[in-house]
């Protein structure tokens, strides 16, 4: 349901930012989009310079992530990275410099989460959710020079945290 709510809010944002998005060269080259054989949806989101896929999965190198059962070792590696590269700005349960991150893996697709880590500059400039978050938090999320493997480990850590916090936390924080 959170997803649906977000999308609804998104469409309002889209309508606004869409007005500003007229001069990106990517727009023309992608304008004829549509689903291809891989099931990708490269159709442009009406009024935006990103595709339906980018809207759903984020803009960046990650196309599809297959999630298995929680991998504790991977999550532990992710926790190490989280302390070094994320916690200067993020807490799990409270807004800090950036949004609270517990449950983010339930609000967003795993691809979106990883693309946000790997390509934050473009995400906050081009993706409507990224733009909205920049507007809410003022500080552009810094790229932290993560490899895709490291971003995957962080994703696993965030999945583990989401599971851990499910019972004890209310939904008081704003969406990340």
């Amino acid at each position: 349901m959170i997803v649906a709510r977000t999308l609804l809010r998104l469409s309002i944002v889209l309508a606004t930012v869409g007005l500003l998005a007229g001069c990106d060269p990517a727009e023309e080259s992608n304008s004829s989009g549509g689903a291809d054989v891989d099931g990708d949806n490269a159709a442009l989101v009406p009024g935006l310079d990103i595709t339906e896929d980018e809207l759903k999965y984020g803009i960046g190198p990650i196309r599809r992530v297959e999630l298995g059962p929680l991998d504790a070792a991977l999550a532990a590696r992710g926790e190490e990275l989280f302390k070094m590269k994320c916690m200067a700005c993020h807490r799990l349960d409270e807004r800090y410099v950036g949004p609270a991150l517990r449950g983010v893996t339930e609000r967003r697709t795993p691809e979106f989460v990883m693309n946000m880590m790997l390509n934050p500059g473009e995400m906050v400039r081009r993706h409507p959710v990224g733009r909205a978050m920049l507007a809410a938090h003022y500080t552009e999320m810094p790229a932290q020079n993560l490899t895709e493997q490291e971003a995957r480990a962080l994703l696993e850590y965030l999945r583990a945290q989401a599971a851990e916090g499910q019972t004890s936390r209310g939904g008081t924080t704003e969406n990340s």
């Binding site: 302390k83 070094m84 590269k85 916690m87 200067a88 700005c89 800090y96 410099v97 500059g121 003022y138 500080t139 552009e140 810094p142 790229a143 932290q144 020079n145 993560l146």
Partner: protein
């Protein structure tokens, strides 16, 4: 009239180059459009600034100042604890020098884009700069030297950089009368191992007669294994050299067979002299270490026959430059009326035949005529330095007549000349002292500026001019101001460097002993009278940003780690009243500022490098209490045992 018209026509055609350029296209030749990159990196020495400046060519845009031998408050070089050891010498901390001659590392006689070396003239040293980080990584002091001018000219595979004495001095140094110059003053020529980062060292040192050794260049191709040094003041004057060192018709080019010297050292010849010198190195943990070294292997000419010869050369020669083929050794006799060009093959033949004119303090002298390849007649007044275009031409700077003279190797005829503004010293063609020059431009590095730019009081910048040498005639393209006093310069195509330039330091590889790799560990710790602040910086806050419990008389060490991992996001750190510089901390790096507060009070600190929309919010406070006060040491760092309320929304 007809003649004039023909001449005009010829001139017009001549200036219409292969790309159809007219004089009006000069601006487009140096115009690098917004967002575009230059074709060449040029590295200019800073002279009395002690630094290196990096310019793009052909635009003449200043890209960077690389601090080397002088403190640089702009980024804390020589002020931060990590960089202070780089300026240590056997004389103590020397925060300034006079840097003259950049030299790019070479492989097979061609610049390879790994490192740049540069000499310190005043307190003899050689620095190595990484061309991945554009930072000075290593500095070695040259013992038994003074006025390290003929330096750090490099051998074709970067085996050695050289150093030698402009000022002969008592060797060993001691308290004697300057009147004893002729008896007790000596010169030295040092070969410094250069191709192993962290291991620069004096491989061996030649003890030579007490002349002034001026400039150098290594042999290449057939003359690989040799190096050539100019000398003046063979009169051995020790006062008013202006007159007294200009008496003789000829001084010498010293030809040193360094491979022969290597053999002699390997055979155990020469002797170890117990001198102390300092070696400074910034290794992977990015904290410079300074070590004292002791002992240098010294060879005298008698220890190693065949190691050194003197080539008589008119007249107080300055530059000595070896052409791309390695056969011709061009000496700029600054008071001479010709440019003498020695032949390496003739030199070898004369040495083989032992056809010597005599000896100078045990060093065989060759006859001038026997080794001469040719003389360039009418080369301009005061010829100093020569560079090559790789197409058979040489370009010599003439200081007194303020011009560049182009002449042909082999025929020695002058084919073109162009004025410079004013009083040119060195000149530089990208790769122009290598085996394969990129002979497209020459840069004139001038000593006098006068009216070239808007006046700025008595002190003016030095002027440089970019001159097109791609056609038959040289053509002035651009005039640009420089920093300090560029002496020599080096340049190479940007492609050799630009894709390997480091953008960030990987925080996961940060091995700094005081690094704070997670904001979870940010804290303050007291160890006796020293308080260590383990601080992190990321857009846009420091942690901790509230510190209490510092006392007057404490030594406070701010170890600031920049947690950013994004290109071009340094953070700065400065605190009120700190009698030191700022820190400029690159992404992933840790830098340390030391402060001994003298007065109680509350001291704000802040980020000095505009980092984000909330940069002005990036600040903090340090409370300083009187000596002996009971205020407990605390901070709001997440790694602190006791956490203060931070007042804000976090």
């Amino acid at each position: 009239m007809a003649g004039a018209a023909v001449a005009l026509y010829a001139y017009a055609c001549q200036t219409t180059g292969p790309k159809g350029l007219l004089d009006g296209d000069v601006a487009s030749r140096v115009y690098v459009a917004p967002g575009e990159h230059d074709e060449f990196y040029a590295f200019l020495s800073g002279g009395f600034s002690g630094q290196v400046t990096v310019y793009g060519l052909p635009s003449g845009r200043l890209l960077k100042v690389i601090p080397v031998f002088s403190q640089y408050p702009e980024n804390g070089w020589g002020y931060s604890e990590e960089t202070k050891p780089m300026l240590e010498t056997s004389f103590g901390f020397v925060p300034w020098d006079d840097a003259h001659h950049p030299q790019l590392s070479k492989t097979n006689g061609v610049p390879d884009g790994r490192w740049l070396f540069i000499n310190a003239n005043n307190t003899p040293r050689i620095a190595r700069i990484s061309l991945e980080t554009f930072e000075t990584e290593e500095i070695i002091e040259i013992p038994q030297s003074a006025g390290n001018h003929a330096s750090p000219f490099i051998t074709p595979n970067s085996e050695y950089v050289v150093a030698s004495t402009r000022f002969s001095v008592p060797v060993p140094q001691r308290d004697i009368s300057i009147d004893e110059y002729k008896a007790a003053f000596k010169g030295t020529i040092s070969f410094i191992r250069a191709d192993r980062p962290g291991e620069m060292d004096i491989a061996f040192q030649l003890l030579v007669p007490g002349y002034n050794y001026d400039l150098a260049h290594a042999g290449k191709g057939p003359s690989y294994g040799w190096a050539f040094f100019t000398t003046y003041n063979t009169e051995q004057a020790n006062t008013l050299l202006e007159i007294n060192a200009s008496q003789r018709d000829k001084d010498f080019v010293a030809a040193v067979n360094w491979r022969r010297a290597e053999e002699c050292v390997a055979q155990g010849r020469g002797r170890d002299v117990a001198v102390t010198y300092v070696h400074n190195y910034m290794g992977e943990e990015r904290v410079a270490r300074s070590e004292r070294k002791r002992g240098v292997r010294v060879l005298e000419p008698a220890d190693c026959e065949g190691m050194i010869y003197y080539l008589p050369t008119p007249k107080s020669p300055h530059g000595v430059d070896v052409d791309p083929s390695g056969e011709y050794i061009v000496a700029g006799g600054k008071l001479a009326t010709v440019i003498p060009v020695h032949s390496f093959s003739k030199m070898l033949a004369v040495i083989e035949a032992k056809d010597f004119e005599g000896e100078a303090e045990g060093i065989p002298m060759l006859r001038y005529e026997a080794v001469l390849a040719g003389e360039v007649q009418n080369p301009g007044l005061g010829p100093l330095h020569t560079e090559f275009d790789g197409k058979g031409y040489a370009y010599t700077s003439a200081f007194l007549s303020s011009e560049i003279v182009k002449w042909k190797l082999g025929t020695w005829e002058v084919v073109d000349r162009i004025p410079t503004y004013y009083s040119i010293g060195h000149l530089m063609i990208p790769g122009g002292d290598s085996e394969k020059p990129w002979g497209k431009y020459v840069v004139a590095l001038n000593k006098i500026t006068k009216d070239r730019y808007l006046p700025t009081g008595p002190e003016l910048v030095h002027a440089a001019q970019l001159i097109d040498i791609s056609g038959e005639r040289m053509r002035l393209l651009l005039d640009f101001p420089t920093l300090g006093e560029p002496h020599y310069a080096q340049a190479l195509p940007a492609e050799l460097i630009k894709d390997k330039v480091v953008r960030i330091y990987d925080i996961q590889r940060n091995r700094h002993p005081y690094a704070t790799l997670s904001e979870a560990d940010a804290r303050v710790e007291r160890r006796g009278g020293t308080v260590h602040v383990y601080m992190t910086a990321i857009r846009s806050h420091f942690s901790p940003d509230i510190i209490e419990g510092i006392r007057v008389g404490d030594t406070v060490k701010f170890h600031v780690t920049n947690l950013e991992q994004d290109w071009d996001v340094p953070h700065g750190f400065a605190a009120m009243g700190v009698p030191n510089a700022e820190l400029l901390i690159m992404p992933g790096e840790t830098k340390t500022l030391t402060w001994v507060p003298r007065q109680p009070g509350v001291y704000p600190f802040y980020c000095t490098d505009f980092c984000s929309a909330l940069h002005q919010e990036m600040q903090g406070y340090v409370r300083v209490s009187p000596a002996g006060a009971n205020v407990p040491l605390t901070s709001n760092g997440a790694g602190q045992g006791k956490v203060l309320a931070s007042g804000g929304g976090r």
